[in-house]
Symmetry: C2
Subunit: 170 residues, 2 copies
């Protein structure tokens, strides 16, 4: 499967992975949320090669996650800021950070702590149901095909069954 084919998959996870599913994009976005905006600042704080950084910024702009804003004329210079679409990535970033906090920290403890300005306390992010507010876990969720589902979706039939059926058909 080619990289670009991911964007076309009838799967919201695959399409999002097309945007953020590489070594650098999430790290670049982390910097964006920490108010880094300029090329050399990204490069200095991440240690990414300039080539790849240019490529990834271009990709994130193309996907509408970042926007280039001029901050000086002569020579024309731009900085990269998060769009609303980019800001909406915050729950993804936070859930990733939280999993790392729980499962990947060494003996020294967490690199960062998060304070919720609204309530003034140090917090962890919790994912809840939009309808009843209860914390979510995989076993309490049932998946249904939606309007954009493909026929013979992996959701409807196990891969084993699909393999068998394909063999029968072909």
């Amino acid at each position: 499967m080619k990289w670009d084919a991911l964007e076309e998959e009838p799967c919201s996870l695959a399409r999002t992975v097309a945007v953020i599913g590489d070594r650098w994009s999430l790290l670049i976005l982390r910097e964006c949320f920490l108010r880094i905006r300029r090329f050399d600042d990204f490069q200095a704080s991440l240690g990414i090669t300039r080539h790849l950084l240019a490529d990834r910024l271009k990709k994130l702009v193309r996907f509408g996650v970042l926007r280039k804003i001029p901050y000086q004329e002569a020579p024309k210079r731009y900085e990269y800021i998060l769009t609303q679409k980019g800001l909406d990535l915050y729950p993804i970033i936070m859930s990733i950070v939280h999993w790392g906090n729980v499962h990947m920290v060494d003996a020294r403890g967490r690199p960062l702590l998060h304070e919720h300005k609204t309530c003034g306390k140090m917090f962890d992010p919790v994912m809840v149901c939009s309808e009843c507010g209860a914390p979510l876990s995989a076993k309490h969720v049932h998946v249904h095909p939606g309007p954009g589902a493909r026929k013979s979706s992996p959701v409807h039939a196990s891969a084993r069954e699909r393999t068998k059926r394909t063999a029968e058909q072909g």
Copy 2:
């Protein structure tokens, strides 16, 4: 920067990206949450090359996200199931799916719908503060260095300031 160096970074996001930050790992994990467990089933439903699949499964086992369980002797065969550490990735998966649902679906609509068995309704995942229960947004969160922070962390000083200081020091 080498791939393996990510695991050592004093950043929970970077360390998690070392586990899930590639083209395939998240897609493999999606299948795991959809009850796919066996090598050929992963391969058939994802279209990943067998080589890469073997490599990624090995990596996910090494990180303790999946566990190999024998399901038959003679010949000895294993299936891959999520550990608790792997199950804890659920909020990451769901936040990614949700962002894709909001920002990446085409005219046909969502490929999948999620029902919360607890309350019986179709829902979206919402990320809230563990302390006050309010939905989270980036601008209401303040970041502090934790015990595992590195000195001169990117969080304490902007990259621009760090560059200047480095130039002064060196």
